[in-house]
Symmetry: C2
Subunit: 354 residues, 2 copies
């Protein structure tokens, strides 16, 4: 939903009511995951996507009907692969879509916020229509009729950790409730130490991927606004001060790029003592070996040292700054969604299920 | 050099002379490849990079001296890995840099042009300072003293094919000439059929990677300027007409994303009959199997069918449109620089030599 905010604002500016459809469940090889949203007006002006082009027109009609009716509806679109090929659809899968006459205020607030929360909505069964909010710290606001808060909390935090919206079935005294957990992940932060050429290329790419971008360097010449016109934050400081100011946490993806041990070493030490989601460090294989040796001498364990991705980035083969930046971002993405466990073989085969 | 044109224009607008340094040779794990360029004024204002931060300051001084002197100079920067770590450099490698008092007109023209050419400059030995130009069709403009045109042509076209600047040694009656071949590749073109959500995310990413972006679709609703504000070209047409207009050639990276066989099938047929550098097609594994079956029935050989990358994109794990777009671009890059032969295992290990 977050990516549709500009389009939501544009569509509502005309005064027209804007309804929403959101994918709550998928089976088979559905083109878009749970949480994918689409907006539409009664006139059929649409934005976003629930199936990458397969059933958008039908969904727009459902939204128009929901606006007219003033009430939500759960709609199932199912197409088998063979059938799909015949009738002109290449989706292959089944999706359930919650069609609503408007975008609920709590959805808008969550989409506009910093993230780190889950909105739970009962879509079928006991207490249908009820909703509640679960925050990253475990706080539950509101309640779903008959669902113990601890059950809801556990399911929501699991979805939040996996950064993936999902539908779950929760038992209540009045029977099973089908609950859609819409996840609004905390915005990931790209923390770069070293405003080098690759950093210049990495910032705009990472912004397109939804990262908040922070570039730090101890060297003024590397950290000008001319070099980083779009960076969200520039911090002229040594690693201790810069990382302290940022507050390294699990939302941080740290790239250490300064090429200068007097910055890289303290930056690496601090990164390894943080719960950062990703730590990458530039340097050749030889440099990496020397660096690992140094980290051992600093008392870091092999397991800790293994958190450092270096040479940084997947080996895609390009050598231009933008290509190196792409390789870094691809590695960050692979680590983000596979918990760092994906080997090259597993992830190299080419398989976007879309 | 191409990426520095905006900065070149900005720097020269002040009337200050702007000199250039370009990497002509690298040994060991140098952070930036041959052809990497840096600009500087006499006051030390700089742009671009020859070593990712290692020797930029020293290079800026060399450029300032070249401007004062009015003549070029070949400079070697060498640092061993152990030494580098001690003295505050993490480069590990040796680079040769051609430092020039200005950007030569032929370099500017090539950088501003469509690409597909190589500028050859004798940096050392017989005929030092001489230069010539080799075009993609093999035409040679100018000559290097004593170097047969066919020898120069062969070396230049080889570098152009690999999209990589290089220094070669060519024999002349007066002895060996060291020749720097500065490659200006033809700008790659991203050709998307199907203006779906993933295409919307792919266009700005590909532009940051230097692609000219062309989106075609037979459906007006998918092809609005609102959806693609930055695309270089939008073509509302069926595949036959669209691809005919584009003129598919070896500079084309084709992504077939329409989700609709009535577009995808003719698009795929035309793509496979073209010399395109990359062909990717969206769809689940099941869809891909059905598609391969259909291609066989159309008479395509297994070798031809193997050109189609599908499911499209490296498997990085993200499922948002921008993440799928990133996975596609990562796959295009891997194919571009490894001739499509890189398996997941080879390229998945993470190793940007920077």
């Amino acid at each position: 939903m977050r990516d549709l905010l500009p389009e939501y604002d544009r569509l509502t500016a005309t005064g027209e009511p804007v309804g929403r459809a959101v994918v709550t469940s998928v089976w088979g090889s559905a083109p878009r995951p749970e949480g994918s949203s689409m907006l539409a007006t009664r006139d059929g002006v649409m934005a976003g996507s629930v199936s990458g082009g397969c059933v958008e027109s039908a969904t727009a009609l459902e939204i128009a009907e929901a606006i007219g009716r003033g009430s939500p509806k759960l709609v199932t679109f199912g197409v088998s692969d063979e059938k799909a090929w015949e009738v002109g659809l290449a989706c292959g899968g089944t999706i359930k879509v919650l069609v609503e006459p408007g975008v609920r205020p709590e959805v808008l607030a969550a989409a506009r916020g910093d993230g780190g929360e889950v909105l739970a909505t009962v879509t079928e069964g006991a207490g249908a229509g009820g909703s509640a909010r679960v925050l990253a710290d475990g706080a539950v606001e509101g309640a779903l009729a008959g669902v113990p808060a601890e059950r809801l909390r556990a399911a929501a935090l699991d979805a939040l950790r996996r950064e993936r919206s999902a539908t779950v079935t929760l038992e209540t005294p009045a029977g099973a409730a089908t609950v859609f957990l819409e996840v609004f992940p905390r915005q990931p932060r790209l923390v770069i130490f070293g405003g080098v050429h690759i950093a210049v290329a990495l910032v705009p790419l990472a912004q397109l991927l939804g990262y908040r971008t922070i570039v730090a360097d101890g060297r003024q010449a590397f950290l000008t606004r001319e070099r980083f016109p779009e960076a969200d934050e520039l911090i002229l400081a040594w690693p201790e001060e810069a990382f302290g100011q940022i507050g390294l946490d699990a939302s941080c993806y740290i790239c250490i790029l300064s090429h200068d041990p007097k910055f890289d070493e303290p930056a690496l030490r601090l990164a390894l003592r943080s719960p950062a989601a990703y730590i990458g460090a530039i340097g050749s294989r030889k440099t990496q070996a020397a660096r690992r040796e140094w980290l051992r001498s600093e008392g870091f364990t092999e397991e800790e040292i293994a958190r450092v991705h270096g040479p940084i980035g997947l080996e895609l083969g390009g050598r231009q700054p933008a290509e190196t930046a792409l390789a870094i971002l691809a590695e960050m993405t692979a680590v983000r969604y596979q918990g760092g466990s994906g080997t090259g073989e597993q992830r190299g085969g080419g398989a976007v299920p879309a």
